[in-house]
């Protein structure tokens, strides 16, 4: 029988989840803010500049007032790393859900989670499969939140390319933004998952959105330039900066496969991490 987690641990995980969500919803990570600043330096088009200036002013307002950056506070996607001493029990998942419900009331977050067919709203941002919780082993107990708005999420795509089509990856990524236009609130961050399986590529694409966007390797840079060459610009009103960054995560795949997933993220590339120290739960 699985060892049961202590109530102190569960409370600490719930509190860390709620606290990370509060931070992610009301402020942007420093690397994302810096990328928006760099976009303003590069952008010449007055309409595009006006959009970026609104974005910068919005970030300031939200920070000053502790209010959500965007009314689409998204659905919570949660990543946990667990040390060997902490088992991944149902109670732990429930503690994360409790944190989501706390943040929904406290921040407040818009209740966005509905039944997929009846569209009935659960009113607390939890439900079947929500929050999505991804667990990996680690040295420390950490809770990372990635609230995901629907405007950008709805523009995401997956392709099962042929192994001979690796030269088409840039085309698929750029085509994703061509189809998306202004809908995902550019300048976007694109998470690209390459390899693994149909589902694994999508998971890698989302995990790529957790990577800092300070730096891009030459391949990421090439994908980013292919997107920015389209000239879609901030909010689809034209301009130089359509993507703040493209981040790639790779996994090995079947020799007959080349899955490629693009997870589109709006300029409000929200994420935050909390470490839960052992003394917090003992």
């Amino acid at each position: 029988m699985m060892e049961s987690a202590s109530s102190g641990l569960l409370d600490a995980v719930a509190a860390a989840t709620a606290s990370a969500l509060q931070e992610a919803e009301t402020s942007l990570p420093a690397d994302v803010k810096a990328a928006i600043g760099r976009a303003l330096e590069r952008e010449q088009d007055p309409t595009a500049r006006a959009q970026l200036e609104n974005i910068r002013e919005n970030i300031r307002y939200a920070g000053e007032r502790g209010l959500p950056l965007c009314q689409d506070t998204g659905v919570p996607v949660i990543y946990l790393t667990l040390p060997p001493s902490v088992p991944a029990t149902g109670e732990l998942y429930e503690a994360v859900a409790r944190g989501v419900r706390q943040a929904t009331a406290a921040v407040p977050l818009r209740p966005n989670v509905v039944d997929p067919l009846t569209r009935e709203n659960t009113r607390d941002n939890t439900g079947g499969g929500m929050p999505a919780v991804h667990v990996k082993p680690g040295r420390e107990l950490t809770v990372t939140v990635l609230p995901k708005g629907a405007g950008a999420e709805n523009c995401s795509r997956i392709a099962m390319l042929l192994p001979s089509q690796k030269g088409e990856i840039a085309r698929f990524v750029a085509e994703t933004m061509l189809l998306a236009g202004g809908k995902p609130c550019p300048p976007v961050v694109l998470g690209v998952g390459i390899g693994a399986t149909f589902d694994g590529a999508a998971a890698l694409a989302k995990e790529a959105l957790l990577l800092p966007i300070d730096e891009m390797d030459p391949f990421e840079q090439e994908l980013c330039e292919a997107v920015n060459a389209l000239g879609i610009g901030p909010m689809g009103l034209g301009g130089t900066v359509t993507a703040l960054a493209v981040k790639v995560k790779r996994g090995h795949c079947h020799t007959a496969s080349l899955p490629v997933a693009v997870n589109v993220q709006c300029w409000a590339s929200r994420r935050a991490t909390r470490k839960v120290e052992a003394e917090q739960w003992t």
Partner: protein, 185 residues
Amino acid sequence: MDLTTPLGDEVLDLRAGDAVTLSGTVYTARDEAHLRMMEEGIPFDPAGAAVYHCGPVIRDGKVVAAGPTTSARMNALSGFLLDAGVRALVGKGGMDERVREALRGRGVYLAFTGGCAALAAARMQVKSVSFEDLGMAEAVWEIELDHLPLIVGIDAHGGDLFAAVMQKAKLQFDQQFNSYKGPGL
């Protein structure tokens, strides 16, 4: 140009790409509210009105967050509002040729910066609400607006900044990738 509701023929002078501010009353409406208005009628005077595609977060009668939602979802749902005298649709991401034609000689589509919910909320006050049973995000909120900075996305002469940008993007995409000789996607 500074626009104030109710809007009149001054909106006909605007051209796609112009920067404007909007003050006065706006009414929020998303998918469900449009469907309800089609069935039960418009719960406000549509003459010269501005409709904002927005599902706000409201707490204790105050606007907490109220950025624009994706307007394209309302492409098929907007004609009746313009027929009834609505002069401006406000949202993000642009709208299709049905709306462009419906706006011709009558009104404009104004683009606000997506995600700028806190900036918008700082310039808004709640006056009243209709269809509250649809839930916070889908209800029709009557909101008093103070100089919201907007871009004319579609004008009353068929000018459409979004369509122009996407047309150029498609050309650029074709130039960039159609020389590739590999198997097509």
